[in-house]
C-alpha cells in the first residue's frame, strides 16, 4: 500500500491544514494563558509542530510493518511502544535543543521549557496514538474498498462463466446431441433413456444454481463432472475412457463452483470429439492442509488442434482463480506430444 498522506497532494494538504490548526491553537494558548511574546510563542509552536508533522509521516512505516491481522497483541504493543518512545524522544530532544539555544537569554522561558517536559511527553504519546489510529483506519478502509471491487469483479466473472457454461450446455455438441441420443434410446432402452434424462437434468440444475455461492466442495464438483461424463460416455461409448485418482481426504476441500467444468469440456472436446480411437481423461487430486491440487490430463493429437493459444475456457478459469485468490500462479498447463495437462491449485485456509 502506498503512503496514504504522500500518495496525492490532496491528502498532503489536508494533513498540513490539521497541523496548521494545531499550531495556531498552540500559539494562541502561549500568548493568552502564558503571556509569552509573539516571537517565543510562534517559534515554540512552529518548532514542535513542524517536527511532529514530519515524524507523523514517518510513523506510517511502523504501522505498515505492524499489520493488525498478522501480529498478536504483545507484538503489536511492543512494536508501537518502541516506535512511539523513539519518536517522542527524538521530537522532544531536537525541539528542546533548538528552542533552548534560540532563547538561552530568557531564563524564564528556559525554566518553563524544563518544567513542560513531562506534559509534552504525554502530548507526544497522544499525538502518536491519534496518528496511528488514523493510519489503521485508512488501511482498513482501503482493504474494505479493495475487497468490494474484487467481489464485484468476481461476480461479473461468475456471471460470465454461468453464461458460458449455459452456452456450452446449449451448444449443439452437447445438449442437442445428448437429446438425440435420448431420442434414440427411447426406442431401444427406455430405462437408459430415463437415466440419461435424469442425469442431464441434474447436471443442468447444478450448473444453473451453483454460481450463487462462490465456494463449494470438491465432492460436489466431482459429482457434477461425473454426471457430465456419464452422458458423454453414453454418447461415445468406448471412445471415452475416464480414469479417476481421487484422494478421499480431498473431497471436503473447497474450490470455486463450476471451475472444473470448462476444463473437462475441453478435455472431451480435444480428446474424444477429435479422435476415432479410445481417448483417455485422467482426473487426479492431491491435497494438504493448505492446498488442493486437481490435475486433468487428456489425450490429444497436436496436428489437429489449432495453435491459436488457449481458448475461452482456460482464460476464464485463469481469471477466476486470480480474482478469487489474488494469486497468478494457480493454473499451469503442461503439453507433451500427445498429452495435455491442466493443473489447478486451490488454497485452503483463507
Amino acid at each position: 500500500m502506498l503512503h496514504p498522506i504522500l500518495k496525492n497532494t490532496q491528502n498532503l494538504i489536508g494533513y498540513l491544514i490539521i497541523w496548521l490548526v494545531i499550531t495556531s491553537i498552540h500559539v494562541f494558548i502561549l500568548i493568552y494563558f502564558y503571556n509569552y511574546g509573539i516571537t517565543i510563542s510562534l517559534s515554540e509552536s512552529l518548532v514542535f509542530n513542524i517536527l511532529f508533522s514530519v515524524l507523523g509521516i514517518g510513523i506510517w512505516y511502523p504501522v505498515y510493518y505492524t499489520d493488525l491481522e498478522k501480529n498478536n497483541v504483545i507484538n503489536f504493543i511492543t512494536n508501537h511502544l518502541a516506535a512511539s518512545s523513539l519518536a517522542v524522544g527524538i521530537w522532544l530532544w531536537i525541539g528542546y535543543l533548538i528552542l533552548s539555544s534560540m532563547f538561552s537569554a530568557s531564563a524564564d522561558y528556559i525554566l518553563y521549557l524544563d518544567a513542560s517536559i513531562p506534559w509534552r511527553v504525554g502530548l507526544g504519546f497522544l499525538f502518536y496514538v491519534l496518528i496511528i489510529s488514523n493510519y489503521y483506519l485508512l488501511i482498513y478502509y482501503q482493504n474494505f474498498k479493495d475487497k468490494l471491487t474484487r467481489e464485484s469483479e468476481l461476480k461479473a466473472l461468475i456471471k460470465e462463466s454461468e453464461l458460458s457454461s449455459l452456452k456450452s450446455q446449449i451448444n449443439p455438441h452437447f445438449l442437442f446431441n445428448s437429446l438425440n441420443s435420448i431420442s434414440s434410446l427411447t426406442m431401444v432402452s427406455p430405462e437408459k433413456a430415463q437415466d440419461m434424462v435424469i442425469n442431464l437434468s441434474d447436471f443442468l440444475r447444478y450448473s444453473l444454481s451453483q454460481p450463487k455461492e462462490a465456494l463449494t466442495t470438491l465432492n460436489k464438483e466431482l459429482t457434477n463432472i461425473e454426471r457430465y461424463l456419464r452422458i458423454e460416455k453414453i454418447r461415445f461409448g468406448n471412445r471415452l475412457h475416464v480414469d479417476k485418482q481421487i484422494d478421499e481426504l480431498c473431497l471436503k476441500a473447497y474450490l470455486p463452483g463450476l471451475i472444473l467444468q470448462p476444463i473437462i469440456e475441453n478435455a472431451v472436446k480435444y480428446g474424444v470429439y477429435e479422435s476415432t480411437e479410445q481417448s483417455s481423461i485422467v482426473i487426479s487430486t492431491f491435497c494438504s492442509k493448505e492446498l488442493l491440487e486437481v490435475s486433468i490430463i487428456n489425450d490429444y493429437n497436436p496436428d489437429f488442434i489449432s495453435k491459436k493459444g488457449e481458448g475461452i475456457g482456460i482464460r476464464n478459469v485463469s481469471s477466476r482463480l486470480k480474482i478469487q485468490y489474488g494469486r497468478e500462479d494457480l493454473l499451469k498447463i503442461n503439453k507433451t506430444d500427445n498429452k495435455y495437462e491442466v493443473i489447478m491449485r486451490f488454497p485452503q485456509n483463507l
Binding site: 455438441h173 446431441n177 438425440n180 435420448i182 454418447r235 461409448g237 477429435e274 479422435s275
Partner: protein, 248 residues
C-alpha cells in the same frame, strides 16, 4: 422396384441406431453400410456406390464437408447434425435436406421422400467446385484435406509454406511435399489466417515466416526467397502489403 441403397456416416452409435430404427419398416430403402468417421465414409462411398448418404457434419479427423470435398462422384446427401450454422453451405452443396438433431421420424421421411423423388428422376447433381464454400466467409480454416492418388491427407495450415495457382487447381507446398487440389486462390485468400498468410501475387499466397529475403526484380516487381530455396514472384501491391506486415 429396386431399393435405394443408403449408408449412414455418423460418429455416435446412438445416432446411427436412431436412423436405422426409424427406417426399420421402410421397404424402399436399404442401409448397406454404417461408418463411424469420414475416412470410413469415403471408402464405403467409393466401394459401395450408394444412392444416398445420411451424413453427420461434426466427426473426428475428417468432417462431413471435408469428406464430400474429396469425393469425385457424390451420392445424394441428407445432412444430420446438431449445428444449425451450416445449413446454407449444405444447400449450396445441393444436399437434399438438412436435419437438425434431434429430429422426428416424420421429418426424416419428409427428407427421404424428396430423396426418392430425386433419385428416381435421375436429376444430375450440381458439382460445381465454385460452390464449395464450406466455411462462412470470415471463418478461418485450420486444416486442408487433399487427395493424392487414393491417399487422403489432412494438412494442418501450420505446415503450409506457400500456395501456387495452377489453372483450376492450386498447388499446396508443405514442409513435407506438395499437393494438388481443386480450389481457388480466392478461397484460400479469404479463409487462411491473415496473420500468417498473404496473397503476394495473382498466383501466390505465402506464409510470412517462410520469407528469408526480398529482392527487386525488374521494374515494379520483386521476388521473395523462401526458406530452403524456392523463390516466389511478388507484385507491386503485394510488396507494399508485405512490407507493412513484416515491418521494414
Amino acid at each position: 422396384m429396386k431399393k435405394i441403397k443408403a449408408i449412414i456416416v455418423e460418429d455416435e452409435e446412438l445416432g446411427r441406431l436412431l436412423i436405422r430404427n426409424y427406417l426399420k419398416d421402410e421397404n424402399e430403402i436399404e442401409i448397406i453400410s454404417e461408418c463411424e468417421n469420414g475416412f470410413e465414409g469415403i471408402k464405403a462411398i467409393q466401394e459401395l456406390k450408394p444412392d444416398l448418404v445420411f451424413l453427420d457434419i461434426q466427426m473426428p479427423k475428417l468432417n462431413g464437408f471435408e469428406m464430400l470435398e474429396i469425393l469425385d462422384d457424390r451420392p445424394e446427401i441428407i445432412f444430420t447434425t446438431a449445428f444449425n450454422q451450416y445449413a446454407i453451405q449444405a444447400f449450396e452443396l445441393n444436399a437434399i435436406d438438412y436435419l437438425l438433431k434431434p429430429f422426428s421420424k416424420e421429418r426424416l421421411f419428409e427428407a427421404l421422400n424428396k430423396a426418392i423423388k430425386r433419385i428416381k428422376a435421375h436429376e444430375p447433381i450440381n458439382k460445381n467446385i465454385e460452390k464449395l464454400t464450406q466455411h462462412p466467409i470470415d471463418e478461418v480454416i485450420e486444416r486442408i484435406v487433399v487427395k493424392s492418388n487414393s491417399k487422403i491427407s489432412v494438412i494442418p495450415v501450420e505446415k503450409i509454406r506457400y500456395i501456387e495457382a495452377q489453372d483450376d487447381y492450386v498447388m499446396i507446398y508443405t514442409s513435407e511435399g506438395k499437393h494438388l487440389k481443386q480450389a481457388t486462390m480466392k478461397y484460400y485468400e479469404q479463409h487462411l489466417d491473415s496473420n500468417q498468410f498473404m496473397r503476394v501475387h495473382r498466383s501466390y499466397i505465402i506464409r510470412f515466416d517462410q520469407v528469408v529475403q526480398l529482392e527487386p526484380y525488374g521494374k515494379d516487381s520483386y521476388i521473395a526467397k523462401l526458406k530452403d530455396g524456392p523463390t516466389v514472384p511478388i507484385s507491386k501491391s503485394g510488396f507494399k502489403n508485405l512490407k507493412e506486415k513484416l515491418n521494414f
